[in-house]
Amino acid sequence: MNIWLVMLLGGLITFGMRFSLIYLFGRFQIPETMRRALHYVPPAVLSAIVFPELFLHDGALHLALDNYRLLAGVIAVLVAWFSKNTLITTIAGMITLFLLQFFL
């Protein structure tokens, strides 16, 4: 199969999935339980992305003080909690990681 055809089909399927429920839920009533469940998509998906980035190293659990990403992540959680500001949190976490990497 030609690479252009692969990209075209892959792109169409990707678009279809992104578009699907935005489109369908505009035409049909969303059941109440489902509506309630959808509020938990952001916390669930975001932590499912974040946890492996902090706790895993090369696919294995890495719970130690030399896991700098975990330490920087904990600092970021604290900064996020108090500042409620995305940019400040990201910068604080990056600076923490830089400092740990370059000075320890």
Binding site: T14, R18, L21, I22, A44, R69, T89
Partner: protein, 233 residues
């Protein structure tokens, strides 16, 4: 400033911290795609035709391994399954839009556009101009992704890996998720999803992520239902 442009620029601004992480990611993709044997035009086009970071990386790798086309297409589909969750999650806020808007916003609905938009909608509820926020976030990301892909193709990866700029993405997600954790069901949803994501990490095609999200959503919904049988919305 009109409500439209206010929302549009708020969305674009909310995307800025994410771009720190996305930019090097796009450059690495561009460089890898050339190495894998894609032409410069195919590598660049994939960033607008497929427009999905992790699926593009995996496609590049599969092309490099001379994987048959249908297998690659199927892989892209499974890797991007999570976007149906995003689509469902934002649907209530976009329900009244024309199909043309839904097509445009559907095309722009990546992980990085979804995250700030979902958080914004949770806070603001359904507003008449809310879709401009997603448009702003989505276009900021789209533009960035095209430019960083192009730079990666022509310059290679100019940013050293030791800068760890990739870490900016999980940090931004942390910044977004922490303020949402206002009650026990939300905290339980986040922690259970996180733990399942660790346990199921080795599953292929990001299926671990989907499984983790579904467990977290279920835990949150069940706990909330127990607390107030009628539900609180």
């Amino acid at each position: 400033m009109s409500e439209q442009s206010k929302n549009f620029w708020a969305g674009a601004r909310a995307e800025i911290p994410l771009l720190i992480g996305v930019f090097p990611f796009g450059m690495i993709y561009g460089a890898l795609a050339l190495n894998a044997g894609l032409s410069a035009s195919a590598a660049q086009s994939m960033s607008s035709i497929v427009f999905a970071g992790s699926a593009q990386f995996i496609t590049t790798e599969l092309v490099h391994q001379l994987t048959p086309g249908p297998v690659i297409v199927l892989t892209i589909a499974v890797v991007n399954l999570r976007h149906m969750l995003y689509s469902a999650s934002l649907a209530p806020y976009l329900a009244s839009l024309s199909t043309r808007w839904k097509v445009l916003l559907g095309y722009l609905l990546t992980d990085e556009a979804y995250a700030p938009t979902a958080i914004h909608y949770e806070k603001e509820g359904i507003t008449p101009w809310g879709h401009w926020f997603l448009l702003g976030a989505g276009l900021a990301l789209w533009t960035n992704w095209q430019i960083s892909t192009g730079l990666g193709i022509f310059l290679g990866t100019a940013i050293p890996e030791s800068w760890s700029l990739d870490f900016a993405l999980p940090l931004t997600f942390i910044a977004m998720v922490v303020p949402v954790l206002k009650n026990r069901p939300a905290i339980a949803a986040a922690i259970s999803a996180g733990v399942v994501a660790l346990v199921a990490y080795s599953l292929p095609y990001k299926l671990g992520l989907i499984l983790a999200a579904l467990v977290g959503i279920t835990v949150g919904t069940v706990l909330e239902g127990r607390k107030s049988p009628k539900g609180t919305l």
